[in-house]
């Protein structure tokens, strides 16, 4: 029964991710006085891409072809770790945050390799940028995550969230720092403004789009879907760690339904905030990204410090 719910949760996650992307796009269009495409547009795009014949360069190796599958499946395994609507699941108990970060790094590794594989200028450029950013984002992310795990005395995400749920409302200064750090890391990792612009194609400043420039057809669909999953993953992470209220603590149908509504509401609000910030801020120069991420690291560090100094029992 539990296993069934776990599988259901993962499937739910996978199927909701394009909807979140659609909602985000809709919010942005609304804020920028443009006519928004339908909320279901990402689904249509994915469907259309799967019907198309993928074009593969003659210089591409086998790696180029299997990379999308590896990326997609690694991302899917990563999301099984994350509690979406309930915490009490068998999959969650066996995997913790470091594994989550590892899976994401694994997916990124193959994405970078695929970008390099064909040997175009854009692909290599995007790959090197991606690695630069991730090498700075990961310490910041771990710093933020450790702040949270130290409060719960476990690196298991599920147990940590359970701990926070049971404790009730406690305002911790360290969480404020960790929250801001995680938001900054999420922006960098999912390639949103001001680090990268997801709406560009063929621009010298692009990062994520540069790597997947050579992909088409179902390969592109998988990669797009994986990046939508990643966006949602970070959203759920932020929503469920810092605002876990509403998650199902028992496995009754009403509790699960309520939890589903709660997480959709939380993600909806986060998407509005993201759209707002993307509308207000301009993309920054690539060389300033390191300042941005070192600020994120600093916040994570401050969170950690304030946890150790302020909140740990003396």
């Amino acid at each position: 029964m539990n296993l069934l719910i776990a599988i259901m949760q993962t499937l739910l996650f996978i199927s909701l991710a394009p909807l979140l992307a659609g909602w985000l796009k809709w919010c942005k269009c609304y804020l920028q006085n443009r006519k928004a495409p339908s909320l279901l547009q990402p689904y249509r795009d994915l469907l259309k891409l799967t019907h198309k014949q993928p074009v593969v360069s003659k210089d591409a190796s086998w790696l180029f072809i299997i990379a999308p599958y590896i990326i997609f499946s690694a991302t899917v395994i990563a999301i099984t770790v994350i509690p979406l609507i309930t915490v009490d699941l068998p999959t969650a108990a066996s995997a913790d945050m470091i594994v989550l970060v590892g899976f994401l790094a694994f997916a990124r590794f193959f994405l970078v390799l695929a970008g390099l594989d064909v040997g175009t200028a854009f692909g290599g450029m995007g790959s090197s940028r991606e690695m630069t950013i991730s090498s700075m984002a990961e310490p910041a992310m771990l710093m933020a995550v450790f702040t949270i795990t130290m409060t719960a005395s476990t690196t298991n995400l599920s147990f940590a969230i359970e701990h926070i749920l049971q404790e009730g409302l406690v305002l911790r200064p360290s969480y404020i720092f960790a929250l801001f750090a995680l938001i900054l890391v999420a922006i960098a990792e999912t390639g949103r403004i001001p680090v990268d612009n997801p709406a560009t194609h063929l621009e010298l400043t692009m990062i994520h789009e540069a790597m997947i420039l050579e992909y088409s057809g179902r390969h592109l669909a998988l990669i797009e879907w994986a990046s939508q999953l990643k966006l949602m993953l970070y959203g759920v992470l932020i929503a469920n760690i810092f605002f876990p209220w509403g998650m199902a603590e028992t496995l009754s149908l009403s509790a699960l339904g309520y939890a589903l509504l709660a997480i959709m509401g939380k993600l909806g609000v986060l998407a509005i905030l993201l759209a707002l910030s993307e509308t207000l801020f301009a993309k920054m120069r690539l060389f300033r990204v390191q300042e941005f991420l070192s600020f994120a690291y600093l916040l994570g560090l401050l969170g950690m410090l304030s946890h150790i100094i302020l909140e740990a029992s003396r």
Partner: protein, 225 residues
């Protein structure tokens, strides 16, 4: 004592203290003057919130007056004055090139640790909220100084100066429920006069060196020219 055992007001005050420190950090990295002034006003507002919550939870009406004074001075008057000067002197488009922001930020983080280090031994028997609030306000004071060191614009110096005052005010509010009224009014008066004098100085400096970059004021020094 753990943070879970505190009531929500105390937790809220602590969180606001953390946010005030955060605004200090953001100011440290800010090269645009208008944004700097806006964040300064935000810091003042967080301070007002913290004071009002402290007034409510400690049931101390005297703190409401302090909150009102801070609101009037640090959130409204001083930011308004600075903004007016920035616009009048047409400095709102200038971006100050800050050298090595990352090092400054890390320096700031070590100042936070330092202020805990300074105050930790004396607060062993004190409540947690007090230790934190005092240490964080000392950190805000030191970060204000760092802001003054790392920026060249006179206006940024004034913002740093005033954020030092913010730190002091926060320390007084949380550790002792505010200073005696006469002292608080006196300090507010001093801040008001200082703000007006700073305004006068902007005009003088601008007319004497044709810029507000205090690094250009280097006529007086110990070394023979």
């Amino acid at each position: 004592m753990d943070i879970e055992n505190l009531d929500h007001y105390a937790q809220l005050i602590l969180s606001l203290a953390a946010l005030v420190t955060l605004t200090s950090f953001i100011m440290l990295a800010q090269g645009r003057l208008l944004r700097l002034v806006f964040i300064f006003a935000l810091q003042g507002f967080l301070l007002v919130l913290a004071t009002a919550i402290a007034a409510y939870s400690f049931n101390n009406p005297h703190l409401y007056i302090s909150a009102a004074i801070t609101m009037a001075l640090k959130v409204l008057f001083i930011p308004w004055m600075l903004r007016r000067h920035i616009l009048k002197l047409e400095m709102h488009r200038d971006v100050e090139a800050l050298s090595n922001k990352t090092a400054i930020m890390m320096g700031g983080a070590s100042l936070v640790v330092f202020s805990y280090y300074v105050l930790h031994p004396i607060m062993q028997d004190a409540s947690m909220i007090l230790l934190n609030a005092l240490s964080l306000s000392l950190a805000v004071i030191l970060l204000g100084m760092l802001l003054m060191i790392s920026h060249h614009q006179a206006i940024a110096h004034v913002v740093g100066f005033m954020s030092i005052e913010n730190g002091l005010f926060f320390a007084a509010t949380v550790s002792t429920n505010g200073m005696p009224m006469v002292v608080e009014l006196g300090v507010a008066f001093d801040v008001l006069v200082a703000a007006v004098l700073f305004g006068i100085f902007f005009l003088h400096i601008n007319s004497s060196i044709d810029s507000l970059d205090v690094d250009k004021m280097n006529r007086l020094n110990e070394v023979d020219q």
